[in-house]
């Protein structure tokens, strides 16, 4: 199941995914029915983009020190 949110641009934004692992996938790891593995994960970049008003997701991957130094923790 996807977790989606309506963002500032009035569009659906995918925030994360979740689900129950298939039994064939957990079996090789020794996890057998009725034990099941639930999983969820969230991508932080898109939320960070909204929070920091960034329009280019690549900004988060180039380590811009100037911008980093200017950020306040208490925004």
């Amino acid at each position: 199941m996807d977790a989606e949110a309506y963002d500032k641009l009035n569009e659906w934004l995918e925030m994360g995914g979740s689900g129950i692992f298939r039994p064939e996938v957990t079996y090789p790891w020794g996890i057998k029915e009725p034990t099941r593995v639930l999983a969820w994960g969230q991508g932080l970049e898109r939320i960070a983009m909204l929070y920091y008003d960034r329009t280019d997701i690549r900004d988060f991957y180039i380590n811009p020190i100037k911008w980093n130094r200017e950020q306040s923790y208490l925004k």
């Binding site: 989606e4 298939r22 009725p34 991957y61 380590n63 811009p64 020190i65 130094r69």
Partner: protein, 558 residues
């Protein structure tokens, strides 16, 4: 992920219900589609579907699911396949090159512009999603009235047959020439690479219908006047060719066409009648479904859920079990667990109760816990944390650092997208140098660190590699030197309580200045390196001030 555009007006016609765009946005997501965008002006929505649901590659397929969701129609849609007269004989010679073929006949087609576009689109999607770009399944659509049955699917020597291919220059070409000169031949020649015979479909007069999976002949070109179609689906996987045929036929049936079966006779083997739209029956334990979803549905309630997602279900003879019938256009049901998802969609994810689960409290892995402490210490020392990728280039990792390496002794990406990412990092330091390069005009001093994974070769591991967590730090300014970085290292060791357990032994390293480099030992074993970076390395990274740096393997501290 594949996407398709839906015109609201057409969808309304197919579903048989007035649709509100805002509500539809939600409804589409509840049947398992991902909304890309909505165009209110043009009354269109673009949705993405999972590649395991190729039956969603047409508005007809989506309308089918919506009708169940709105409870306008429940259970498996009924599709009639009329028994046909046409036979296609399969010569055993195709076994070596493209062993499977299934066919269908479509009568009385009267398609509008949208439907023709859908038909083209669905073929493209099926070629991609089910057919693995025509390797596993290739689809041919022909004008039935131009050819005389029975047809024959066989394999021939590449230069022994010539015909006029579609989209060619209008001249006959033999199969070898098509692969060398025709656009589609060039594009798909790799599928037939190394084969000494090529597949071909003839009619009773030895006219060529198709040279699968490459191109059809001009003879059977479909035009506005075409009334009846012949479909051929060839491939290397029997299940996949059938699934693609079933999706194509059910969509055409939804468009109002009539389907006739074809007798496909494998010479020296069995005879099959296709398309076979009979549902497949499963027997599933209802308690298992309830257990996985976390519900307590009665058998009757569960049956309704399956009917809503267009499956048929009834109580099985076996107590507590359901007999479930899966429509022929669904190729994604492989295991009883798949019915739990179907049931949950039928029940409605939005109806699932919210519960707070007890227990299952997690904890940080010791290395994560330790890494967090190290980060805090480094921030306390006035360093800024940065993050880089584990993938990097061998040039940065070794050449620019003046390190020699043997290609056989590093992890190499088999098919790198770019030279920038052709290996995994063995050390963090080279990428810190690169970060300094990208930020060299910022105010000095620049003190940065990274805590992250490195990948090392290890023949004892199942994957041949192992992962370690490292810490690396660099100080960059006009007075950066060994003394400064040494004091940072001391600060870490004191903070961790190891001030009496480590020592630095002088050594040589090509990346560092001789006499300003040492190896770090913790309780007698080597855990890292520290020193002033060699001027040549500084030049390689276009830096004009000295860099003092260290790198530690945090794994050794646990």
């Amino acid at each position: 992920m594949p996407t398709i555009e839906l015109k609201i007006e057409r969808l309304e016609r197919l579903v048989g219900k007035k649709l509100d765009l805002k509500e539809l946005e939600y409804d589409l997501q509840w049947i398992g589609l991902d909304l890309e965008n909505t165009n209110v002006e043009e009354q269109k929505v673009k949705v993405e579907y999972n590649p395991n649901r190729p039956d969603f590659s047409s508005p007809e397929g989506i309308a089918r699911a919506l009708k169940g969701y709105y409870e306008l129609e429940l259970g498996i849609p009924s599709y009639e396949v009329r028994p046909g007269e046409i036979t296609l004989n399969v010569d055993p010679s195709v076994k070596k090159v493209r062993p499977y073929i299934v066919c269908g006949v479509i009568r009385d087609i009267d398609l509008d512009e949208d439907e023709v576009a859908t038909l083209m689109n669905i073929q493209e999607h099926l070629h991609w999603a089910v057919g693995r770009d025509r390797r596993k399944v290739a689809i041919g659509v022909h004008d039935l009235d131009k050819i005389i049955p029975p047809y024959r699917y066989t394999a021939v020597k590449p230069d022994s047959v010539s015909f006029i291919p579609l989209h060619g220059d209008g001249y006959p070409m033999n199969l070898e020439e098509i692969l060398l000169l025709h656009d589609k031949g060039i594009e798909y020649a790799h599928i037939l690479e190394g084969k000494d015979v090529y597949p071909i479909i003839f009619d009773n007069n030895d006219e060529v219908l198709s040279f699968p999976p490459i191109i059809n002949g001009v003879l059977t070109t479909v035009s506005d006047d075409t009334e009846n179609l012949f479909l051929d689906l060839t491939g290397t996987d029997f299940k996949a060719v059938n699934l693609a045929l079933n999706i194509l036929s059910t969509t055409l049936l939804d468009m109002g066409a009539k389907i006739e079966s074809v007798k496909v006779s494998y010479q020296g083997g069995k005879e099959i009648i296709t398309p076979n739209l009979n549902p497949k029956k499963w027997e599933v334990k209802a308690g298992y479904i309830n257990d996985v979803i976390g519900l307590k549905l009665s058998l009757t309630e569960m049956i309704k859920c399956f009917q809503k997602i267009r499956m048929d279900a009834k109580k099985s003879k076996k107590n507590g079990y359901l007999d479930i019938w899966v429509p022929a256009y669904r190729g994604d049901i492989m295991h009883p667990v798949d019915f739990t998802e179907e049931c949950a969609i039928g029940y409605g994810y939005f109806n699932l109760p919210l519960t707070i689960r007890e227990g299952g409290v997690g904890a940080y892995h010791p290395i994560q816990d330790f890494s967090s402490k190290i980060r805090k210490i480094m921030i306390g020392a006035g360093y800024l944390e940065i993050l880089n990728f584990i993938l990097t280039s061998s040039e940065k990792q070794y050449d620019l650092m003046k390190q020699n390496y043997d290609k056989t002794n590093i992890v190499e990406i088999a098919n790198p997208i770019s030279k920038e990412y052709n290996t995994t990092r063995k050390k963090l330091l080279p990428q810190l140098m690169d970060t300094l390069l990208l930020n060299r005009s910022e105010e000095k001093p620049i003190r940065i660190f990274e805590v992250g994974d490195v990948i090392l070769l290890d023949p004892d591991e199942e994957t041949g590699t192992k992962r370690e967590v490292h810490l690396s730090a660099t100080s960059y300014h006009d007075e950066a030197d060994f003394t400064e970085i040494r004091s940072t290292l001391d600060f870490i060791m004191i903070s961790l309580g190891y001030e009496n357990d480590f020592e630095i032994k002088p050594n040589k390293n090509l990346s560092y200045i001789d006499g300003r480099y040492g190896e770090i030992y913790l309780k007698g074993s080597k855990v890292g390196e520290i020193g002033e970076i060699h001027p040549e390395v500084l030049l390689n990274f276009k830096l004009e001030f000295p860099v003092a740096a260290f790198e530690l393997n945090l794994q050794d501290f646990l």
